[in-house]
Amino acid sequence: MLSLMGLVMTVAVFAVAKRVYKRIPLLFLSPLLVVPTTLVVILSATDVTYGEYLAGAKWISNLLGPATVAFAIPIYKNLPLLRRYALEIGLSAVLGSATALLSSVLPALWLHLSPETATSLAPRSVTTPVAMDISRSLGGVPTMTAVFVIVTALVGVMAGPAVIRWLQIRTPVARGALFGTGAHAAGTARAFEFGDVEGTVASLSMIAAAGATLVLTPVLWPLIGG
């Protein structure tokens, strides 16, 4: 029974937070921010370890597998769009992946963060399963990377609309590419709020960025002294 506690607690807090956010859609009430914070407070107050929590909560994480497979559905439905915007999506993914890697690792080292932290930051801009795999292969800490991926999602969802306004980015394909490359799945969800083309391009960009990061990281890593 105790083993299910993490599962029940997470779903309950998420359900409440989602309802509150629907009523009062303020940025700092975003479930992505509120739910983990609430759970961290509860765990700290009750002296439940992360391992004990995860015994039940891992069943939720396990759904990331089928959820990633589910991205096949919008892709399949929009294959013509993919063909039409292949150049924009591909180029954004390559450029964005290189930018993400360099602008994460180099400033981290300049700010005297530990090599372990800098390595774990390297793949932070792609979707969690890919980011954790890359982190492991570079010698980072995958669970730490998972946290950085979530923070990236949160920052991206907030920064994206501001970047679009600031740079006056009008084409839907560019808006989608920026969200999908910069803030993976959460950014994709935000892009769908702009429109269907934005959302679809974002989901394709997210995947392309994951692919580009997988290919580029082993190439760029030795250049930045990894």
Binding site: G65, T68, S103, T117, V130, L167, A174
Partner: protein, 129 residues
Amino acid sequence: MSAFKKLSKIGVQVGILTAVSWIGTYLAGRFDWPVPGNIVGMLLMVLLLQTRVIRLEWVEAGGNWLLGNMLLFFVPAAVGIIQYKQLMMTSGGRILLVIVLSTVAVMVSTGLVADQLARVREKGGSGNA
């Protein structure tokens, strides 16, 4: 459709998607591919839909449910920050600074380049650039 019927439909469809993700994970491990199993599963799923081995209506409701609740599946990993209390105390501010700077850099570079490309193409007229 009753709530129960709808729920069991979503359950079965999530089951199909889970099976495909397992097959993807198996293939990636079996042949030692550098691509994560879930991504292999996703590409496999596009192929299965394209070849009509799996029909869209068999997985669409379950898929939409998964994508709509995506944020929930990230939560347990995010709670993992609790393991790094010490690190967050000493370096949390600097880590956040790096993530903010880098995320904005990625969005600015990709947004500008994609926007320029799209505009050049639009000016090209027929769009077969």
